[in-house]
Symmetry: C2
Subunit: 146 residues, 2 copies
DNA sequence: GCTTGACCTCAAGTCGACTTTAAGTTGTAC
DNA sequence: GTACAACTTAAAGTCGACTTGAGGTCAAGC
């Protein structure tokens, strides 16, 4: 497969594939002339990378876990700790979602007067809801999801 | 209150407060000499901003919603749509969390052989799990949360 | 045999939310 | 009255994950 084929099949832009190769996340089997040639299993590897990204791993962490070769040891402890992290994030987001939903129907004259809203506010202010759960949704362009 | 006091009480660095003022997110009542003077309700406003950030609003969106003055109209429709967005994100993250947790205990020789894992992989690859749910956790330094 | 288009490289640019730095001003304690 | 810590500004830098752009190469079709 050449890079265009991989891009088409995986949905990952060619520029990103080159970038990933440079980072050591993927590798081509060789070249035909100048052009990279990829094996079929590149698609699995890209899926793995996508999964890691969705789970909140950085590209560097993913390089660590996947190693430069084959399909090697994914550290189980790390997996668990990421899952725990996700749990926290999910709880925070759930609280916020409920608060938002309530605020949307709340009849208090101003949100500031609503006890539920103020409680949520307190959470946000105190950092219980780490402002790091922020990126959680970040709708950019390219919304493949919706 | 001077900027240092606000920083101490809110946990928001002075540099960020200046940045927020520049963006129109907050405002000072005036100056004593060069120095900004803030009212007490700045703390509520900062909490509101923190909440918005955790809910995934961008600073620009927050400016929109809070207006430059007082505590005005928070668009209820927008709130609902953000809540819906959060729902999707939560679902995605939950699926990933479960997959991660399973992978951590899965006895398949390689994760690639595990059907559950491959199913998760399929989700990630197909973009069902938008790679935009990625930022969801992004542990930076300053982890106030843990 | 020459144009064309898909690939290539390397460097620089982008985006959002801040932080850092350099250089300047000032209220206050001595 | 002067030193100094704490404030001020404007501009530039940071971070991660890519994207874009300029300029180059090459296989294939006419």
């Amino acid at each position: 497969m050449d890079i265009a084929e991989v891009a088409k099949r995986s949905g990952v832009p060619a520029s990103t594939l080159r970038f990933y190769e440079e980072k050591g996340l993927i590798s081509s089997v060789g070249r035909q002339g100048l052009r990279r040639v990829f094996r079929d299993n590149i698609l699995d590897r890209l899926a793995l990378i996508a999964l890691g990204r969705s789970a909140g791993f950085s590209l560097d962490e993913i390089v660590q876990m996947l190693g430069s070769k084959g399909r090697p040891n994914i550290d189980r402890e790390l997996l668990v700790s990421k899952a725990d992290e996700l749990d926290k994030t999910i709880k925070n987001l759930t609280a916020i979602r409920d608060g938002l939903r309530h605020a949307a129907v709340c009849s208090a004259p101003s949100h500031m007067e609503c006890p539920k809203f103020r409680r949520l506010l307190g959470l946000a202010a105190s950092g219980v809801i780490s402002s790091d759960s922020k990126g959680a949704l970040s709708q950019k362009r390219r919304g493949t999801s919706a």
